[in-house]
Each structure stands twice: as C-alpha cells, then as structure tokens.
C-alpha cells in the first residue's frame, strides 16, 4: 500500500471523527436545551393557569372597595350636614356642670366655657416688638435705701 494512501485515509478519518464529534456535541446540547425548554414551558403553563382568574378577582375587589368608599363618603356627608362638630357649642360643659340643688357642690362648678376659653389672639395681630434693654433713668432726688430696713418694705 502506498504511503500516500495511508496518509489520505488518516486525514479522512480525522476529518470524519472531527465532524462526528462536533455533531454529537451539538446533538447533546440540543437535547439538553429541549429538556430545559419543556420544563420552562410546563412552569409557564402552570403560571398561566394560576394567574388566569386574577383579573376578575381584582376587578371584583376594586368594585367592592369603590362601593365601600362611596358608603363612607355618603355617611360622612350626611353626618356633616346634620351635626355641628363636637366642641363648637357650650352644651356639653353646661350639661355636666354640677348643680347645688341636686346635692352637688357648686364650688366644683367649672367656669363657663367662654371664660375658660380665652379668645385666641387674632392672627392679624402684629407680634410684640422686641424690647431693647434701656438703662434706667437716673433719679437724683431719690434717696438711696438705708441698709438694715430692707428696700422691700417700701
């Protein structure tokens, strides 16, 4: 057999082996990919089945919440129309004031709300001007206090 033929056979064998090896590797990779894709597809299917009714449920919840909000708003509006805010009148204090004829002690009677609740200062009032310390004017005719008597007796 000619050496050239042997080299040719060796070359062809190497080429075929390389092609076979690469194709086998590619086939294994594709098989792995297919297996993983099947797994992912099953997971996506499960997620789709889980999330399918969520839209209707959320719509229902939103509708119920809107109804509840409307109920609260209507109730608050009716309440505001019919009632004066608590604390705006003197009724509660007058109602709870002790009466001496009932055996209560008149001394414990709280003062009238108008007397207790001093009117707040008007917001338009200007703030008091800062007082600058001024030296006291000298009084030449005043005698200096005598020691021993105490200036606080005057």
């Amino acid at each position: 057999m000619d050496p050239a033929h042997i080299v040719l056979l060796i070359g062809v064998t190497i080429a075929v082996a390389a092609i076979a090896g690469y194709l086998t590797a590619i086939a294994l990779i594709l098989k792995h990919v297919v297996n993983r894709l099947v797994t992912v597809l099953a997971a996506v299917d499960a997620v789709t089945e889980t999330a399918e009714p969520v839209g209707a449920v959320i719509d229902d919840i939103n509708r119920d919440l809107a109804v509840g909000r409307q109920l609260i708003e209507n109730g608050v509006e009716r309440l505001e129309e019919s009632r004066v805010p608590v604390g705006a009148t003197a009724e509660p204090a007058a109602r709870h004031a002790p009466d001496a004829s009932d055996g209560g002690t008149a001394t414990a009677a709280p003062p009238a709300p108008a007397a207790v609740a001093a009117p707040p200062p008007a917001p338009a009032d200007p703030p008091p001007a800062p007082v600058e310390p001024t030296p006291a004017p000298a009084r030449p005719e005043a005698e200096p206090p005598k020691r021993g008597r105490g200036w606080w007796h005057r």
Binding site: A18, V33, N74, G75
Partner: protein
C-alpha cells in the same frame, strides 16, 4: 503519486482545519443557547413561588365583601343615631 501527496497535504492543512473552524462556529452558539436555557430554567423555577400569594386574592375578596357589609351596617347605625 505527486498529486496524491498534494491532495493529502490539502486535506490535512486546509480541509480539516476548515471543517474544525466551521464546526466550532456552529457549536459556540449552541453552548451559549445552553447557558441561556439553564439561566431561564433557574429563574423560571423561581416564578411559581412568587405567585403563590395570588391564591390569597380569593381570601382578600371575601374579606372586602365582609368589610363592605359591616360598613353598611355601621353607616346605617350612624344614621339611626342622628
């Protein structure tokens, strides 16, 4: 015979390297696809546990309905006190 040797040289120096280069250019994207698929599988597996709370939405719906009923009773009672 000389042509035979030339053919051998061409096979060994040109054809086989060309085959290897072409097959490498095919197998490199295949490996990348494999890595991406593994990544998708790892992160896709975490998808389901995050959606377990969706089953609680049914409970939320029932609770909201109960709250609405109680709220209606409360507003009605409030109307009676006026």
């Amino acid at each position: 015979m000389t042509l035979m040797w030339i053919g051998d040289l061409v096979l060994l120096l040109v054809v086989i390297p060309a085959v290897v280069i072409i097959l490498r250019r095919v197998i490199t994207p295949a490996f990348e696809i494999k890595a991406y698929v593994d990544d998708i599988t790892v992160h896709g597996a975490q998808f389901a546990p995050h959606l377990e709370a969706l089953s609680e939405l049914d409970t939320t719906r029932h609770l909201v309905k109960q709250v609405n009923a109680d709220l209606e009773r409360y507003v009605r009672a409030l109307d009676r006190t006026r």
